[in-house]
């Protein structure tokens, strides 16, 4: 894990692991197998916290970061480290920050967003890192 000294704060958001939302994601990611079966997912899918970044308020904050205006973001790398469980219907604080990463092509910025998720007592529950590569749209396409 790289040092976080150079992270630039964005904002802290309140997020909720709402049971209906968790259940919706559990069904949405349970892709059918070739056999036609669709085995059940765990109660809270391990990737659930990442979709908090899709909350309209958080998404808008991500979009406001320098470089994001240059095109469409492609997901390059995602990590999640858990320090305790995400509880269904639990309320958490998501502290979001970002930094630009070195990349050979200045027209395709590489940005890392780091989210620290903490419970009501301030105890860290998870740390997420999302690396996005922003790809310029092809002219005339």
């Amino acid at each position: 894990m790289p040092a976080d000294d150079d992270l630039r704060p964005i904002a802290c958001f309140e997020v909720v692991a709402a049971s209906q939302h968790v259940s919706g994601l559990r069904h949405a990611v349970a892709l059918p197998l070739v056999s036609g079966e669709a085995p059940a997912m765990p109660e809270v899918p391990a990737t659930y916290p990442v979709i908090w970044l899709g909350n309209p308020e958080i998404r808008a904050a991500v979009r406001s970061v320098a470089g994001m205006e240059k095109g469409l973001p492609l997901h390059f790398l995602q990590s999640v480290a858990y320090f305790s469980r995400i509880e269904v219907d639990g309320t958490y604080a998501l502290d979001l920050s970002w930094r630009p990463l070195p990349h050979r092509d200045p027209m395709r910025p590489k940005l890392e967003f780091v989210a620290i998720v903490a419970d009501a007592a301030g105890k860290m529950v998870a740390r997420m890192s999302s690396v996005l590569l922003v790809v310029p749209a092809v002219r005339g396409a």
Binding site: A28, M41, P42, P45, I51, L77, V80, A137
Partner: protein
């Protein structure tokens, strides 16, 4: 009691069918993922893609799913997923992996997994698991 695993132990193979547009739409709606490359062919083309592509996190979600199907008595403590190539929504893919390391006297293991469409790796993941 440890996980009773050793490096090289294989994970099962999870063969996933091609994903329908309806499934992609259900996912992006739930996830708040409004990147048009998943639902708008013109936008996907403008980004230099050959067609609509699966959301990366929809692929990534299959890795912990594989772990869950493999062993019920484990807990995922961290996972890193690297997205290697776009995966078209009409492509079937396979997720599998193996144990690559054991630590803490067998109480934790590192597993490496891949998502592959045909001969191309589209994503790879490394996860640390412990006994529940």
């Amino acid at each position: 009691m440890g996980l009773d695993l050793k490096p090289g132990d294989p994970l099962p193979v999870l063969p996933l069918a091609a994903v329908s547009r309806e499934q992609v739409l259900a996912y992006v709606t739930c996830a708040g993922d409004d990147n048009p490359i998943h639902v708008d062919e013109a936008a996907a083309g403008a980004a230099g893609l050959a067609g609509l592509v699966l959301p990366g996190m929809l692929i990534a979600a299959q890795f912990p799913r594989l772990l869950q199907l493999w062993k019920r008595n484990i807990r995922l403590t961290d996972i890193t997923v690297q997205f290697l190539a776009p995966l078209g929504i009409d492509q079937a893919f396979v997720v599998t992996g193996k144990v690559v390391a054991i630590d803490r006297n067998g109480a934790a293991a590192i597993v490496r997994m891949t998502a592959r469409a045909g001969t191309a790796n589209v994503a790879m993941a490394e996860a640390r698991i412990v006994q529940e």
